[in-house]
Symmetry: C2
Subunit: 211 residues, 2 copies
């Protein structure tokens, strides 16, 4: 389905593990760059949503915005990155956002097509709704609309968000991330190498070229 | 002296304020790149040492290494940047390091030649001693040696470290940094724009081109 079996050269595609929380604006920025980055490196992106608040709690890390001058700086920095990439950005007025249900929907949509990973297109649409359009992804009506625009069965996916396999997978991605040394988002892996932050995509690409 | 009055084009040089603590390995990495970056943009770098522990205390920020998995990651990340830049790097075995005396020496050496900023060459030598050679810059004998290699009067500078004007200037740079929104190191300014981190030098350079 979403995973090409092999490139025109006949080689198996490389893999990028993408751990993210929809509440993370730097994860959104990274997500905007992943499709072309993956395409030019014969790689596929494995979308793995995680609950960042749980990661912070487990690692003793703190959210960057907890430090007031850092929060002020981050607003400017996010705008610089968006301009650099040429992508739209508006800081979501509902931040911090409880994204658990939206991330379960990404997982449910992946499962619905037989994948163990999150549904990339739905993930992109939810990131865009949150960080480009200031929409409210804690609202079921919004979630349904966003899914349906992609031709996905919104009501069925919302129902699936309440099922144990979907809940368990979101938790499992978080546990897996912690076991691999993740402490923030976005976190990307090429093989066993961890790269933290939208600002490390050049290193991710260099690792893919070596892989 | 260290400040070119004008470039061959006749324009006044642009200015980069470089707030750093010698204890910060990312500040070392940034320092290795500043001379060529400044040269190709007709800019001068104003070296402003600050006591990072005081900045953290005042802003409620925490040192990155306080989160164990982040500290592990940073070691790998620092190595990647050093390889990317082609500069030597060894994590200092005495970390965390009390750098107050060494930073006062940078200020004293600047004053000695009539500058209100820190002495760039001495700053570079102290960064290199700390982060490339694992030397102990809390030791007066090391500080004297490092100064003397540059032709600076080591004993006179060490004596100056205990004088009020030198102490006051280190504190003043820290207060100035806090007033400008600094919360970590390295922090660089082009005009009123703050850029935090070795990983924002491309943005610093873009700001210089616009300046």
């Amino acid at each position: 389905m979403s995973e090409p079996a092999a490139s025109p050269s006949g080689k198996a595609p490389k893999r990028i593990d993408f751990y993210f929380d929809l509440s993370s604006p730097y994860s959104y920025l990274a997500a905007t760059q992943l499709p072309p980055l993956a395409a030019r490196n014969n790689a596929i992106v494995q979308w793995k949503p995680i609950v960042l608040a749980a990661v912070f709690k487990n690692t003793g890390n703190v959210m960057p915005a907890a430090c007031a001058p850092k929060a002020t700086y981050m607003l400017a920095d996010l705008g610089r990155w968006a301009a650099h990439y040429g992508v739209p950005f508006r800081f979501n007025t509902r931040f911090p956002i409880n994204t658990i249900r939206a991330m379960r929907m990404i997982i449910a949509a992946g499962m619905e097509r037989g994948s163990e990973y999150g549904h990339a297109e739905l993930g992109q649409a939810l990131f865009h709704a949150t960080w480009a359009e200031d929409r409210d992804i804690t609202d079921d009506a919004e979630l349904r609309r966003i899914a349906q625009v992609l031709g996905l069965p919104g009501d069925a996916l919302l129902a699936a968000c309440d099922t144990q396999p979907v809940k368990d997978r979101l938790r499992a991605f978080g546990d897996e991330a912690l076991a691999r040394g993740v402490f923030g988002a976005p976190s990307l892996f090429v093989g066993d190498e961890l790269f933290w932050g939208n600002d490390r995509l050049d290193f991710v690409e260099a690792a893919l070229r070596r892989a």
